[in-house]
């Protein structure tokens, strides 16, 4: 199972209430997988040369003031916002990639959930209902967002194994399905220098996209590569700086429904999650075709 939801705003009014819609959609999909939940929300882009880091500590008693001071000395911190005891959003005066690399090298107890100019990413091994409450998702504004509720099949129920997975600057991946060739592919990607933190199959798909785009592929090309190189079942949604992309495997065992109005484009694993969106009854509703890459917004690597 697992549930995917995503919404891309086409109007200022909807952007104001993006989090409210996302939260309701995610909770509606909660019975497709209550093991963990996560969301990536795109909003408030920082300036060129700056970055937003979504940081996570597995340790509740982490000293964020000391961490901020250390990051501030090395990179310059322009803004910092506590999200929960374990999550913090830090804006730094450095590009996303070197900022992420610095944190990973010097603060190994932290995990950089995402790095980019617009992305904010949160996830936790709790039910979707508790997740949206603890992280205040309903109160968030934004241009677009994707979220995931997990029924674990391929690896343990941990925050690290929860979705979304970061796949590069302002990019993240959520997945409904399971991959059967992830062990072999992980070995191959490690040889290419891609790092992995879990034995999770979706992290391998995320690493695959990261590797393909590092080698010069566009997001669309990297997703098309999945059709050749990934063996298994998947509906993927990829959050990008400007929108999102959707791909279903050619067999299409895993569901996906899209709805579009003048105000939004939305995706969900089931129509139930779309039914309460404004104007849903009159929206154009369709299922994305198997093996076809769809994208909304300028689905490009941010920057």
């Amino acid at each position: 199972m697992c549930g995917i939801v995503g919404i891309f705003s086409k109007s200022p009014g909807l952007s104001e209430r993006l989090g409210e819609h996302l939260a309701r959609m995610l909770v509606q999909m909660g019975d497709r997988g209550p093991d963990s939940a996560g969301a990536a929300i795109y909003r408030d882009p920082v300036a060129q040369g700056a970055a937003k880091l979504s940081l996570y500590s597995a340790d509740d008693s982490v000293r964020w003031d000391e961490i901020e001071a250390a990051i501030g000395d090395a990179l310059g911190v322009s803004r910092s916002r506590p999200v929960t005891a374990r999550h913090r959003l830090v804006e730094v005066e450095a590009d996303p990639e070197p900022a992420q690399a610095w944190v990973e090298e010097h603060l190994p107890g932290l995990r950089v959930m995402s790095a980019g100019r617009t992305i904010e990413m949160f996830k936790e091994a709790v039910t979707p209902a508790r997740f949206v409450q603890e992280y205040g998702i309903a109160g968030m504004t934004g241009s677009h967002a994707i979220a995931h509720t997990r029924m674990a099949t391929e690896s343990r129920v941990t925050t690290q194994g929860s979705h979304p997975f970061s796949t590069g600057r302002d990019l993240c991946l959520v997945h409904n399905g399971s991959l059967s060739n992830h062990n072999r592919l992980r070995q191959e990607l490690r040889r290419e220098g891609i790092g992995f933190q879990t034995d999770n199959d979706t992290e391998v798909a995320a690493g695959y996209l990261t590797w393909r785009m590092r080698e010069g592929a566009t997001l669309e090309e990297a997703l098309e590569g999945c059709l050749e190189d990934l063996d298994g079942f998947y509906t993927f949604a990829v959050g990008t700086a400007d929108g999102f992309a959707v791909l279903r495997d050619p067999i299409a065992c895993k569901p996906a429904v899209m709805a579009e109005t003048d105000d939004y484009v939305a995706i969900a694993s089931e129509y139930r999650a779309l039914a309460d969106l404004p104007g849903a009854a009159d929206a154009e509703v369709w299922e994305p075709s198997p093996g076809v890459v769809y994208s909304w917004g300028a689905a490009v690597v941010g920057g």
């Binding site: 050619p250 569901p255 089931e270 129509y271 139930r272 039914a275 009854a281 509703v285 299922e287 198997p290």
Partner: protein, 231 residues
């Protein structure tokens, strides 16, 4: 609960699907108008009486599953497995149907006025399915008996591992599945298509413009010498 004409309004924003289905299972006759389906699952599943159920909006998974005798119409789209394992009666979808529409159904008529996606009529066992639009890949997979009429196109691997179901497609077929072959469209088949279209309420499609597909009967009477045919 005697009046044949009894009319019931159910709002699924107020009433649970379970309450609706229990009322439908307890009735022997009557008409139901169901509002705000909201993509909920199993709406009007398991009916066994000649009821009439109208669903105003999009239904979720397994709508009208296992139907016997009842007439269920979805004024919207239907999710996965609409009319799955239907035994008799009529299920009609005004919009699109998701995957596995009419799966394993033994009888009755399923009409989809939009498109049906993958695996339409998978393992069908006697149902008649008429799709006004197109069907997705692996439709009529392992279909045993019954008729599938597609006014639009069919996706890849139509009729893979087919038994004795008869498939009629008016548009293009992306590819045929293992052991599915095109066969001559004879007069009796045109008559059969015409009757199915009429039953589905479709009167602007010429029954003579379809092509017929069926089983080559080499797979279920498998001979090891034919193994190369099923790569």
């Amino acid at each position: 609960m005697s009046a044949i004409e009894s009319l019931h309004d159910t709002d699924l924003a107020q009433t649970s699907v379970r309450e609706l289905n229990q009322a439908l299972h307890a009735a022997s006759a009557g008409r139901w108008q169901v509002a705000n389906p909201g993509g909920r699952h199993a709406i009007a599943a398991g009916l066994t009486a000649p009821l009439e159920v109208e669903i105003d909006g999009h239904a979720g998974y397994y709508c009208a599953g296992m139907n016997q005798l009842a007439t269920v119409r979805v004024h919207g789209n239907a999710g996965v497995g609409v009319a799955e394992n239907m035994m008799s009666g009529r299920v009609e979808v005004d919009g699109d149907a998701s995957q596995s529409a009419g799966a394993t159904a033994h009888g009755g008529l399923l009409v989809v006025h939009g498109n049906a996606s993958a695996r339409c009529g998978i393992s069908m066992k006697g149902v008649d399915i008429v799709v006004r639009g197109s069907v997705g890949h692996l439709s009529a997979f392992m279909a045993q008996t019954g008729r599938l009429v597609v006014c639009g196109d069919a996706g890849d691997s139509l009729g893979d591992s087919l038994y004795e179901a008869r498939l009629y497609v008016r548009g293009s077929v992306a590819s045929l599945g293992a052991d599915c072959v095109e066969k001559d469209l004879r007069e009796e088949h045109v008559t059969e298509i015409a009757a199915l279209l009429t039953a589905a309420g479709i009167d602007d499609v010429d029954p003579a413009t379809f092509r017929r597909y069926g089983s080559a009967r080499r797979l279920y009477t498998f001979d090891v010498d034919d193994a190369g045919s099923f790569a």
